[in-house]
């Protein structure tokens, strides 16, 4: 791989150990994927934050990295942690876990990473311009960046995004190149998609059918932002999808439409949506009802507040969102309404990365196929329902 003189000096340690180690990682990956060279990135979104996944080893790696002098050169935001950084006791998280989580956040903060603790950086003002190169991890954010915004990233991991944040560089391969952004299969929607959960189901089915292939959706209707958020999250979970095109919907669809000749078409019908749902659910006795996978937008907070008015959620409805959206939801009065109905609102964390077993959860009900998939993987009985049905189910 070609390196500029300056990059060679970074590789030799002229800018410190942290930069050298970061360069080693980026160059090794560049070699693996046969990249010609490194290119600048405008921002990073870093995953691998929950102490549940990192454990002591990952935490120590981050602390070591920080002590070697790693500092962000470009804007970097952070994925969710394993708990609300303030209300963790109320979530039934243990003090030992909270201490580990605190160390993780401190290490990131000392490196100059913004402790946003959200999987939806794109909802709190971290929105790159179309066509720019970024290094984002968190598969739903990757999908949103590539598909809905049009900013380019591969499916990065915690260490690679941190390396990109510290050097401002990434290797040029994969979804960064025009040729790899072409669709590989046409997915024709042969039913009216009526709810956001329908879009979530379509994403889930697409990942199962296509694996890592880029889909081009036909007849997908006019999904709102929240529908695109949940669709991307689902197809990145059941498959390895990093980019989707939607006819008349996404910014690169018109360009993508020039490459449809000879592509295979697969259809998604109403019965496929029903089957996908049935493949995941098994009616739990005492589920916790959760929304916010990916983290709730302000509109979802408003809708939830409207639905819970005058009902008693009995502490069984959990709403997950980012600090950025939370502040706006407080100002708009939504948080007060949800809490008055005894619903809970938490920031910084979600149903996928919090230590749910240790917190005493017995089952999970959600409107997110991604959330449901991980709940099944973590050994919970699960239920899928739309937002109004979740509120109805949680009501005492």
């Amino acid at each position: 791989m070609y390196l500029t003189r300056e990059q060679e000096r970074m590789m030799e340690g002229e800018k410190g150990v942290a930069v050298r180690k970061s360069m080693e990682l980026l160059v090794a990956l560049g070699e693996v994927f046969e990249a010609e060279r490194l290119i600048p990135v405008e921002s990073a979104h870093i995953s691998g934050v929950s102490y549940k996944n990192l454990g002591d080893a990952g935490t120590e790696w981050l602390e070591e990295h920080a002590s070697m002098g790693a500092r962000c050169k470009v804007r970097a935001t952070l994925n969710p942690a394993g708990m609300d950084m303030e209300k963790w006791r109320e979530m039934n998280v243990t003090p030992e876990f909270a201490e580990g989580q605190r160390r993780v956040i401190d290490a990131f903060t000392s490196m100059g990473v913004e402790p946003t603790c959200t999987c939806t950086p794109y909802l709190i003002g971290h929105v790159p311009r179309r066509g720019t190169q970024v290094a984002w991890a968190e598969s739903n954010a990757v999908c949103f960046s590539n598909s809905v915004i049009g900013s380019r990233t591969n499916r990065e991991s915690g260490p690679t995004t941190l390396a990109s944040a510290v050097t401002g560089l990434t290797a040029l391969y994969g979804y960064r190149l025009d040729e790899n952004r072409k669709p590989g299969k046409i997915v024709k929607i042969e039913t009216d998609l009526e709810t956001r959960m329908d879009y979530s189901a379509v994403g889930y089915i697409t990942g199962k059918l296509l694996g890592r292939t880029v889909p081009y959706y036909k007849s997908m209707g006019k999904p709102d932002l929240e529908s695109m958020k949940t669709l991307g999250a689902a197809c990145a979970t059941s498959g390895g999808i990093a980019l989707w095109h939607g006819e008349g919907v996404t910014p690169e669809a018109e360009e993508a439409a020039r490459h449809l000749d000879g592509l295979e078409t697969v259809a998604i019908e109403r019965k496929d949506i029903e089957e996908a749902r049935e493949s995941l659910v098994c009616d739990p006795d005492n589920p916790t009802y959760c929304i916010g996978c990916p983290h709730c937008s302000l509109r979802e907070m408003a809708e939830t507040a409207e639905l819970v008015k005058g009902k008693d959620m009995d502490g069984r409805l959990w709403v997950f969102t980012s600090r950025g959206v939370y502040q706006k939801a407080v100002r708009a009065g939504h948080v007060k309404v949800i809490e008055a109905a005894r619903g809970r609102v938490y920031r910084d964390t979600c149903m996928v990365v919090a230590p749910l077993h240790e917190m005493g959860w017995e089952g999970v009900a959600t409107n997110s196929f991604k959330g449901c998939h991980y709940s099944v993987a973590h050994g919970f009985d699960t239920k899928l329902a739309t937002l109004p049905d979740l509120v109805e189910g949680a009501a005492k």
């Binding site: 996944n53 990952g58 260490p159």
Partner: protein, 133 residues
């Protein structure tokens, strides 16, 4: 026998070969504390990879796997080196952050020419693997 391939993470190591015909996930598939492969139904389930030259097709599974390799290195349970047919990002990342030598794309199929228990010297800096019968 000398095999030539590509350096992904440099370094030198030698050890006894452990060969897996199937891809390996370090997250959930290997116990970092003991070094045993624990994935149910995996062809190497029950084998210990500590100190071995671990030979397998490629990696699979969650990106958290990179940190598992790092944890094993810290605990002293990591393999001495890894040889892949063709590696991928999670393993490459794990080996780079943990200083575990990693080579792939050898000129002969390592799954065929390397057998369990053979002594293997991995000079990853040069991308050279020496197999001693």
């Amino acid at each position: 026998m000398i095999l030539k391939g590509r350096k992904v993470m440099g370094g030198y190591a030698e050890g006894e070969a452990l060969v897996s015909a199937e891809p390996v996930s370090f997250y959930g598939g290997v116990d970092p504390v003991t070094g045993y492969v624990t994935e149910p139904g995996h062809c190497c389930c029950g084998e210990n990879i500590t100190g071995k030259v671990f030979v397998f097709p490629t990696g699979k599974g969650s990106t958290v796997g990179s940190y598992v390799i790092y944890r094993m290195k810290k605990l002293g349970t990591a393999p001495a080196a890894i040889i892949n047919v063709e590696t991928e990002a999670i393993l490459a990342t794990g080996c780079v952050i943990s200083d575990v030598p990693l080579v792939d794309k050898l000129d002969r199929d390592p799954l065929k020419v390397i057998k369990n228990g053979m002594k293997v010297k991995v000079n990853a800096d040069e991308g050279v693997v020496e197999v001693i019968d």
